[in-house]
């Protein structure tokens, strides 16, 4: 198991190299001159040229990329062009807000998704099942930003129950968490339902019933644990995806998270900021994936015996 984890952590190295190379190339190829952006539109050309030389922007692409990697290995990802602060300082300042929103969103999704999925599966084709499947379809198909705006319209503008944006205490978390949680809940519901439907037809479920196990326990103990692997996968993917910044939701609710930071950085061609954000997002995503894989082993002993 430890060996497996170490192996997975080592795999992060090529992942990060690949990600940075791609993002660096894209940033290099997109139009716009960082020196010009830093100095402003009206700066004299010779000053811009001087700054370009200072920043090494006149060096060939490969030289620039390797300089970035070399500095990165030393933990120096540079400073933001726009705020002049170290990029990771900025990211870490924003990360708690994103983490908070992600956890709240995923919690909403799990609390709705898993129970609804279980009931739908045990009462297949019932009214409850049909209604919740239509609900799930709506949940996945509704655009996030539109749903967020509708919530704001109803609960902030009309009813004035909850704030429409910002990160000020628990009440401001409610609407963005519901916005994020709804589509994730829809996915989790569908996955729980189909996974449970498959499991409750298995022979060992019949064995459990033949032992005289309470029906409630047959479902919640015998069946659910076996159905959990695909559910964990979906929850993990959603979690990792949201941690990378729920860009649209963060924008709609002016939530000061990593997603918005990244979008702003791209708009300003703030290359160090973009690179650092992307590296950060891919590392957190990989970590969440690793956590999910470790969790598999705890749920299913057959998987554990494969992790060597």
């Amino acid at each position: 198991m430890h060996k497996y984890i170490l192996h997975r952590l080592l795999l992060l190295i090529p992942v990060i190299l690949g990600v940075t190379f791609i993002v660096y190339s894209i940033m290099y190829l997109t139009p716009g001159d960082p020196a010009q952006i830093i100095l402003g539109e009206s700066a004299p050309p010779e000053k811009v040229e001087q700054l370009r030389e200072e920043m090494g922007l006149n060096d060939p692409f490969i030289v620039q990329y390797f300089r970035f990697i070399k500095n990165g290995l030393k933990g120096d990802f540079g400073r933001s062009y726009s705020t002049r602060r170290p990029v990771f300082e900025e990211i870490f300042a924003r990360f708690p807000a994103t983490l908070k929103l992600t956890i709240a969103g995923v919690l909403v999704a799990i609390i709705i998704g898993i129970p609804v999925g279980i009931i739908s599966a045990t009462k297949q084709y019932s009214l409850f099942d049909n209604v919740s499947m239509v609900g799930a379809l709506l949940g996945v198909s509704m655009p996030n930003f539109w749903f967020g705006l509708m919530l704001v319209l109803v609960f902030s503008v009309t009813l004035k129950w909850l704030p429409s944006g910002g990160d000020n205490g628990l009440s401001s978390l409610v609407l963005p968490a519901i916005t994020l949680g709804t589509s994730a809940a829809a996915l989790i519901t569908r996955m729980t339902r189909s996974s449970m439907l498959e499991v409750i037809r298995q022979d060992y479920i019949r064995t459990a019933r033949a032992k005289g196990v309470l029906e409630k326990k047959v479902i919640n103990k015998h069946a659910l644990k076996n159905a959990l692997i695909p559910i964990i996968t979906v929850v993990g993917l959603q979690f990792g995806y949201l941690l990378g910044g729920a860009v649209l939701t963060e924008t709609v609710f002016s939530w000061p998270g990593v997603g918005r930071l990244l979008v702003d950085a791209i708009r300003q061609k703030d290359t160090p900021m973009v690179l650092a954000s992307v590296v950060f997002v891919s590392v957190t995503f990989s970590f969440v994936n690793l956590m999910v894989d470790i969790l598999y082993a705890y749920v299913d002993p057959r998987i554990k015996s494969q992790y060597k």
Binding site: D203, R209, A210, G212, P301, R302
Partner: protein, 331 residues
């Protein structure tokens, strides 16, 4: 020796599966009587309704689509079809338990075998978790698996050992009736004999009655006291083991014996019963066996035979024995 007290009395049990493509008449009015400690072999081809009968006794026929249409299942004087689900749950795994056909898929892959054995003890006996686990260890030893493997998971066991674990679960609460649904079909031949021996010994030790479902007459000869032959959801012949093996009456039973190659005769080809099991959504009229019966006459297609008792409980459902079809000897 054995007390001759009636344990199970099934009368006129009918179980149908109602689907969009028609009604599957899986079990059609069968009667079974079983005394304490006795072993009944329920023999028939695949699709004859053996497993459905077993699930019916446990009241575990999947519903929908399965439905128990009529009948009485009297167990220790109580009709199992009339008691509440909660009362039935207390009987399952406790007074009646069941061994399933495929040991590979019948154990929960994410629970240790210890947990799975202890669970049934915890449900039906008033014991703590720890006591249940201890008892589970004893059961495991009883079926010939070292106690130390209590914390192992099913995937760490071979097929034969899994079936032993399932037997341990089934016998943990010392049931009055054990229903074994083709317990050895999925195992290879050497393991089959071991598992059968084990079941036989434990059954005798605890004086458990057993319904052994099989399509293997060899297994029947080894274990059973009496035999019921099932065809297309009906029991066509019931007899003691000796009666059946020495003097089979129903043309289907005779056909079954005929399809087994004999050691003392040179056989080039096996002699199967011609034809196939009828489609259970569309059973033939009259005697259900008539399309495959070598003695069938016109009347067999129209008149459904009654059960005729020949001697000492040897019962057969065939018009020949009602004197309506003229056949000298069924061979």
């Amino acid at each position: 020796m054995r007390e001759n007290k009636e344990l199970l009395n099934i009368e006129n049990l009918a179980i149908h599966y109602i689907t969009d493509d028609g009604t599957v008449k899986a079990v059609n009015g069968i009667n079974i009587k079983l005394n304490k400690g006795e072993t009944l072999g329920l023999v028939g081809e695949t699709g004859a309704g053996k497993t459905t009968t077993a699930l019916g006794i446990m009241r575990l026929v999947p519903n929908p689509p399965g439905e128990i249409m009529s009948g009485v299942i009297e167990f220790e004087g109580r009709d199992l079809l009339k008691i509440s689900e909660e009362e039935m749950r207390k009987i399952r795994g406790n007074k009646i338990s069941m061994i399933f056909q495929d040991p590979m898929t019948s154990l929960n892959p994410v629970m240790t075998v210890g947990e799975q054995i202890a669970e049934v003890i915890e449900i039906h006996q008033n014991v703590s978790k720890q006591e249940a686990m201890e008892k589970a260890g004893e059961m495991l030893e009883l079926v010939g698996i070292p106690k130390a493997r209590l914390n192992d998971y099913p995937h760490q066991f071979s097929g034969g050992m899994k079936q032993r674990v399932i037997i341990a679960i089934a016998l943990a609460c010392n049931p009055q009736l054990l229903i074994a649904d083709e317990p050895t079909t999925a195992l290879d031949v050497t393991i089959q004999a071991q598992v059968l021996d084990l079941m036989n010994n434990l059954k005798n030790e605890f004086n458990t009655a057993m319904i052994l479902i099989t399509h293997d007459l060899g297994v029947v000869a080894e274990v059973c006291d009496k035999v019921a032959i099932m065809y297309a959801g009906e029991i066509v012949e019931t007899a003691s083991l000796e009666q059946l093996f020495e003097n089979p009456k129903h043309p289907y039973t005779v056909g079954l014996f005929g399809s087994i190659p004999k050691l003392d005769e040179e056989v080039d080809r096996l002699k199967p019963i011609k034809g196939l099991m009828p489609d259970p959504t569309n059973l033939p009229s009259g005697c259900k066996f008539h399309p495959r019966c070598p003695y069938a006459k016109d009347i067999c297609t129209k008149k459904e035979p009654k059960v005729t008792e020949l001697e000492n409980g040897h019962k057969v459902k065939c018009l020949i024995y009602e004197g309506l079809v003229d056949v000298k000897e069924v061979k």
